[in-house]
C-alpha cells in the first residue's frame, strides 16, 4: 500500500514532539475524520529554525507530518508557505489515492503555524479556521460526504451527479 519512503517515515518519524514556547502553533483535522496534526515552529530571521509535530492518525498522516518537518526546516517562511500537497506526495514517492485528502494535511498544519506566528508578530490572535467535525472528503471523487454517496465512484465518474 505504502511506498518505502512512507514506511520509513512512519516507522522512524523525524521531529516528533512539541516545542516549548513555540513561536507558532498550527493544527488541522479532527478526530472524527481520523487525523489531527499539530505543528510547532521556531522562527529565527524569517527562517524555520525548528519544526516539530504531534499527529493522531493513520500511517500516511504520520509520514506526511514527518516529511513536512524535514522539508520545512531551514526554509524561509515564504518558501515554507509554498510547500504544496503535491510536493509532499512527490517527496514521499506517492500516496494511495484515498490518502490524498484527509491524511495529506501536514503542509496545511505548517502553514497555520506560520500564520499563527505572523499574526502574533502583528499582535493579533490568529483565528484557526474551523474544520467541520463531520465533513470528510470522499476518497474517490471529492463528494463531500461518502456516507451519503457510498458509491462515489459511481456517483461522480459514472452518473455524473
Amino acid at each position: 500500500m505504502y511506498s518505502e519512503i512512507v514506511m520509513d517515515h512512519f516507522k522512524n518519524p523525524r521531529n516528533v514532539g512539541e516545542i516549548p514556547n513555540a513561536d507558532g502553533i498550527g493544527e488541522v483535522g479532527n478526530p472524527a475524520c481520523g487525523d489531527i496534526m499539530t505543528f510547532y515552529i521556531k522562527v529565527k530571521d524569517n527562517i524555520l529554525e525548528d519544526v516539530k509535530f504531534k499527529t493522531f492518525g493513520c500511517g500516511a498522516a504520520i509520514a506526511v507530518s514527518s516529511i513536512v518537518t524535514e522539508m520545512a526546516i531551514g526554509k524561509t517562511l515564504d518558501e515554507a508557505m509554498k510547500i504544496s500537497h503535491r510536493a509532499v506526495i512527490e517527496a514521499l514517492n506517492g500516496l494511495p489515492k484515498k490518502k490524498h485528502h484527509c491524511s495529506n494535511l501536514g503542509s496545511d498544519a505548517l502553514h497555520r503555524a506560520i500564520e499563527d506566528y505572523l499574526a502574533k508578530q502583528k499582535g493579533r490572535a490568529y483565528h484557526k479556521p474551523e474544520d467541520g467535525p463531520e465533513v470528510c472528503n470522499c476518497p474517490i471523487c471529492d463528494v463531500e460526504d461518502p456516507e451519503e454517496a457510498p458509491y462515489c465512484a459511481t456517483v461522480c465518474d459514472r452518473t455524473g451527479t
Partner: protein, 394 residues
C-alpha cells in the same frame, strides 16, 4: 516470522479437506448441470449433495437453499427480491442501525426508489430491542431484516424473539447470518426466520459462493434474471466447484462446531480481559455475553487504528479495525456511532477475530506486542493526556 491471523472475519484459508473435494471440478468434472448428457449429470448430483449439506447446517429443506456468489448477493437478493414481490402489499421495511454495508446500502437504494424504512436503534451493547420491532410494524410492512451476529462488535441479536413477533404479524423476516452460520448454531426453524443469508468463506469454505435460505411459500423475485437455474431463483452458470466446496465446508462446520467454539471461547475471554488490563484507557465494545465466540472488539484511546495495525503487521499479527482511515469510504464505523460511541473514540478500534487454529501463544504475543506499540503512538499523539475520557461503551 510467525504469522498470527486474528482477522478471520476478513478471510480464512480453505480447509484441505474442502480443497480436495473441489479439485476434480477444475478439469475432470467440468460439466454444466444444465446439460442433459452425462457430463452434466454428474455435476448436477454434486450440487444436489452440496445443497443437502448446506441445508443440514441450518436445519432447512434442501429445496429452500438458493446458491449465490457471496453474502452480499444473498443480502441484496433477500431485500430487493421480497420488496419487489410484495409491491402490491406494502412499502415499508424495518431494519436495525448496525447492519452490514450490504444490507445498509441495499436498503438505501430501495429508499431512493420510494420504500419507507424504519431503522431501529441499538443500546450501548449494540443490541436491538424486540419491543421496538413490534412497535415499528405497520399495515404496510413487507419485510423485517435484522442481522444475527455483528461482524464488528460481536453482539448476537435476539433473533428468535424478533422472529416470533414477525410471525405473529405475518411479516417475512430476514436475518443476515453471514457472521454466524457455520460458526455458532443456526436453526431456521427454531429461530423463526423466513430468509437467511450465509457465505462459505466465513466457515473455511471458498470465496465466491454464498446462499440464501428462502422458506417455502415466501414471495421473492430473482435478482439475477436469465436461465432457470436454482429453481428459477438465481440465473447464471452454476459455480459448481465453489458450491461443492461450500457443501463440504458446511458438513465439516456442523461436525466441528462445538469443538471449535470450545477452543475459541477461552482465547476470546483472555483477550477481552488481558488487553484492557495491559493498556490503560482501553474499552471493550459490544455485548459481554451475547457475543460471537470468535470476536474481540476494543477501543484504544488517543490513537488511530491503521497506525496500530501497521506496526502489528510488522510483527506478523494480522487484525482489523473499524477506523475511518481503514474503511474504503473513509468513514468511521456506523455500527459504533449507532451504539453511541463518538467518532473520535471509534478511530482507536481494534477488531480481533479468532479462528480454530489460534492458540494461547497468539494471545500471549498480542498482549506482549501491543502495549509498546500503543505507547509509541500515544507519545506521538496530540490527543494523549489532553482530552478527557470519552464514553466508549456501556
Amino acid at each position: 516470522m510467525r504469522i498470527i491471523n486474528l482477522d478471520h472475519v476478513a478471510a480464512v484459508p480453505v480447509l484441505p479437506e474442502v480443497v480436495k473435494e473441489m479439485l476434480p471440478y477444475f478439469t475432470e468434472k467440468y460439466g454444466n448441470p444444465s446439460s442433459i448428457h452425462s457430463l452434466g449429470e454428474e455435476v448436477e448430483e454434486a450440487i444436489g449433495e452440496a445443497r443437502e449439506r448446506v441445508a443440514a447446517l441450518i436445519n432447512a429443506d434442501p429445496s429452500e437453499i438458493v446458491f449465490t456468489s457471496c453474502g452480499t448477493e444473498s443480502n441484496n437478493f433477500a431485500l430487493k427480491g421480497t420488496v419487489q414481490a410484495n409491491r402490491a402489499r406494502g412499502n415499508h421495511i424495518i431494519t436495525s442501525s448496525i447492519e452490514h454495508f450490504s444490507i445498509m446500502h441495499a436498503i438505501k437504494t430501495l429508499e431512493r426508489q420510494g420504500v419507507e424504512v424504519t431503522r431501529l436503534p441499538v443500546d450501548c451493547y449494540g443490541m436491538v430491542d424486540p419491543d421496538d420491532v413490534e412497535k415499528a410494524i405497520t399495515e404496510r410492512t413487507v419485510l423485517i431484516s435484522v442481522m444475527h451476529g455483528n461482524n464488528e462488535i460481536g453482539t448476537v441479536q435476539p433473533i428468535t424473539e424478533i422472529g416470533r413477533i414477525a410471525r405473529e404479524h405475518h411479516i417475512p423476516f430476514h436475518t443476515d447470518a453471514v457472521a454466524t452460520a457455520g460458526v455458532i448454531p443456526v436453526d431456521v426453524k427454531a429461530m423463526n426466520v423466513d430468509l437467511l443469508s450465509l457465505a462459505a468463506n466465513q466457515f473455511y469454505g471458498p470465496k465466491g459462493v454464498g446462499a440464501l435460505f428462502v422458506r417455502k411459500g415466501v414471495r421473492i423475485e430473482p435478482l439475477l434474471d436469465g436461465g432457470i437455474q436454482e429453481n428459477g431463483l438465481r440465473a447464471g452458470t452454476e459455480n459448481v466447484m465453489a458450491i461443492v466446496g461450500m457443501g463440504k465446508a458446511a458438513e465439516i462446520a456442523a461436525r466441528d462446531m462445538q469443538s471449535r467454539i470450545d477452543h475459541m471461547l477461552p482465547l476470546r475471554d483472555r483477550l477481552m480481559k488481558e488487553v484492557p488490563a495491559a493498556i490503560e484507557d482501553v474499552a471493550v465494545v459490544g455485548h459481554p455475553t451475547e457475543r460471537l465466540p470468535n470476536n474481540v472488539s476494543v477501543l484504544v484511546r488517543y490513537v488511530e487504528g491503521e497506525s496500530m495495525l501497521l506496526f502489528l503487521d510488522m510483527e506478523g499479527i494480522k487484525i482489523a479495525s473499524g477506523s475511518a482511515c481503514i474503511s474504503r469510504s473513509l468513514k468511521v464505523s456506523h455500527v459504533m456511532l449507532a451504539m453511541g460511541i463518538d467518532a473520535g473514540a471509534a478511530q482507536g478500534s481494534l477488531l480481533m477475530t479468532l479462528g480454530k487454529d489460534n492458540s494461547d501463544q497468539d494471545v500471549d504475543d498480542v498482549v506482549r506486542v501491543l502495549p509498546p506499540i500503543v505507547q509509541r503512538l500515544r507519545d506521538m499523539s496530540p490527543l494523549y493526556k489532553r482530552s478527557g475520557k470519552v464514553k466508549a461503551s456501556c
